[in-house]
């Protein structure tokens, strides 16, 4: 893996044997990681790999970057089949599976994913409807955490805490002075109120919700209407991607859908807070 020229920074706290890596603007948010019990050099190496991976993924998923693979698909798949990279093929297939398992509520087109036609043999994609485009906003952070989780395990890290933009958390192993990583969930309408406290041990947590300044970013695909409810949903799962997908989906489900979708997934905890 070529990493020449990457300026990754990071802070090592020798007395705690803890490394803090931070990116202030990646995938439209910030990324922080605490790597525990590794020496300075090893920590820095792992962090460099993570930064490289995050920037690589940002480049694939960024639909505002005209050179990204997502932009290429959005631009060309309206008229012609677009041949995609093996990784993008895996991603699109995974989005298709999530689309089915969530009864069509997880939809990276925010419109009608059934009009995204995937050719198994040629590994091409074409849109069979106008005004279709891909937006990995509800997927990319989960996918990135999945990749980073692999990277961390491969590096032999046993304890680590990842905070991806507040809403996507990964707790590997446990806190140096506790038996898990404890995370509290804040009420976005009242930051003094704690809605819940969740313990993570080799688990991911994803939180979705509206905030006073940011409402309407979650859209129910079948109605093309944004979800305006004052609520927060949190999902705890071994799989960061499942957690990411479901936290968005459960913002818009009714009770019947909730029950049916839950049966399709293995999640540890689903919590919904009406505010």
């Amino acid at each position: 893996m070529q990493r020449i020229g990457i300026d990754t920074g990071g802070t090592y706290y020798g007395s705690s044997k803890m490394f803090h890596g931070s990116l202030k603007n990646i995938m439209g948010t910030r990324f922080d990681i605490l790597i525990i019990d590794q020496n300075r050099l090893k920590s820095q190496e792992i962090w460099n790999d993570i930064v490289f991976e995050l920037r690589r993924l940002d480049q694939i998923f960024n639909r505002f970057d005209s050179t990204s693979e997502t932009s290429k698909i959005n631009c060309e798949a309206i008229t012609d089949p677009v041949h995609v990279s093996p990784e993008m093929w895996f991603i699109l297939r995974s989005c298709q599976i999530y689309y089915t398992r969530t009864l069509g509520l997880f939809d990276i087109t925010l419109n009608d994913f059934s009009k995204v036609l995937l050719d198994e043999k040629a590994h091409t994609v074409i849109f069979s409807k106008k005004d279709i485009s891909l937006d990995f906003g509800g997927y990319a952070k989960g996918y990135a955490l999945l990749k980073i989780k692999d990277l961390i395990y491969q590096a032999g890290v046993q304890h680590c805490f990842v905070d991806f933009g507040n809403s996507s958390i990964l707790g590997i192993g446990h806190h140096p002075h506790g038996d898990s990583w404890k995370v509290s969930i804040e009420n976005p309408y009242d930051q003094n109120e704690i809605l819940d406290e969740i313990s993570l041990k080799d688990q991911a947590l994803s939180v979705s919700g509206n905030t006073p300044s940011y409402t309407g970013h979650i859209v129910r695909p079948t109605s093309v209407e944004s979800v305006k409810a004052h609520k927060v949903v949190s999902i705890t799962s071994d799989d960061p991607l499942d957690a990411e997908v479901l936290s968005t989906v459960f913002m818009m489900t009714n009770d019947m859908e909730k029950k049916r979708i839950t049966e399709n997934f293995k999640v540890q905890n689903i919590a919904e807070y009406s505010l």
């Binding site: 706290y13 007395s15 705690s16 803890m18 803090h20 931070s22 603007n25 439209g28 948010t29 910030r30 922080d32 605490l34 525990i36 805490f161 905070d163 933009g165 507040n166 809403s167 996507s168 958390i169 806190h175 140096p176 002075h177 506790g178 990583w181 404890k182 995370v183 509290s184 969930i185 804040e186 976005p188 704690i194 406290e197 969740i198 947590l205 939180v207 979705s208 919700g209 509206n210 905030t211 940011y214 927060v232 949190s234």
Partner: protein
Amino acid sequence: MSKRKSKQVDTSLRQFIKDLGYVSGGAALLATTPWLQSFTPDKAKEIKKEKARIGFIGTGSRGTYNIHAILSLQHAEIVALCDIYPPNLKEASGLCPNAKTYTDYRKMLESPDIDGVIISTPLYLHAPMTLDALNAGKHVYCEKAMALTMEQCKAVYDAYQETDKVLYFCVQRMFDKKYIKGMQMIHSGLIGDIVGERCYWFRNHDWRRPVPSPELERQINWRLYRDYSAGLMTELASHQLEVCCWAMQMVPESVVGTGDIVYWKDGREVYDSVSLVYHYSNGVKINYESLISNKFNGMEDQILGNKGTMNLATGIYYLEDEAGGKKSGIEQLIGQIGNKLYASVPAAGPSWRPETKEKYIAHNILEGEFHVNDGLSMIGALKDGSDEILSAFCQACITGEKGKNIVEEAYLATMLCHMGNQAMAEQKKITFPEEYKIPYMKFS
């Protein structure tokens, strides 16, 4: 005035100086505010029991405000009043029954019983009245701005170089505690290098006063007409441009701007909306904006440094390295682990998005309670330094000691206002005219 009140307020200038740390070891502060050197507690002792004999030229709303301030001083007495508008003169006379009244200020200036005059008249009268009063051997305190034109400003400045009389202009921010302390902090490097200055003054008011009969329109609503006033620039911006130069310790070399009558299209001749950019030789800019048909933003004199922001009008500063308001979840977690603590981390919530504006921690410039001017009054605000500068002037009338920097600051601020008006009227960049530069000014 009751004795008790007199005593109370008389001590206020001394207390003010004390508060600023002048009693001992205040040398550094004195160096940054040399105009206050004459008002240390020791100097104040020298004038005890003496009274400055003050005549008022102009007894309208601002004049009355000034009369109240002087009446509360132990070291001054009002001996004469002059106004051409009988209702105002009558009202002022009610406040100072022992003062002799005049309708012609020149007659008043002939009186040997007056040490100093306080001029609170429309802008176009500032220069002729100031020059006449200095010529008559009187100490002079005049409202801001200095004069209606650049030529008049220079004439006043030149006259001041020749006279041995005291001349003050109401650049009251130079006597406002928040500003003095704030400037000390700026000059000590608290906010780093100054990289920009933003000043604005917003009101939602037509700037008019009721007129009892039409022929008095221009006399009463003088602010709206170009022969009498230079509009928002001299009435409002002059204070703020002075503050900018005070902070920068430099004078801008040029200005561009645009001015219009956007909303109050009632026959007025001065802009009700102005936007200007003043440019210093080192590239730092003053962005100035004033609008009087929307008051949402209020008034602020904001000095931007690479390490912090000083909001002088509200008396609050912010530091760049404290952006974010409270510690993030990850920072708290790092702190916990460092302290061997195990607790939950308030990390989770709906997605954090890069915000257009981060939260900062507000720090007060002054400790304890202090007064903030909302900028809405047309007459004057409480505790904005006006009382202190009037008290200082009256003391100077007794000692004959000229106030350092005051005329110079008023001159440069007023010149910048006129340059701004010229830039807006001619729609072009105006550089500081060579013939109006004075030794006091530093341009680089």
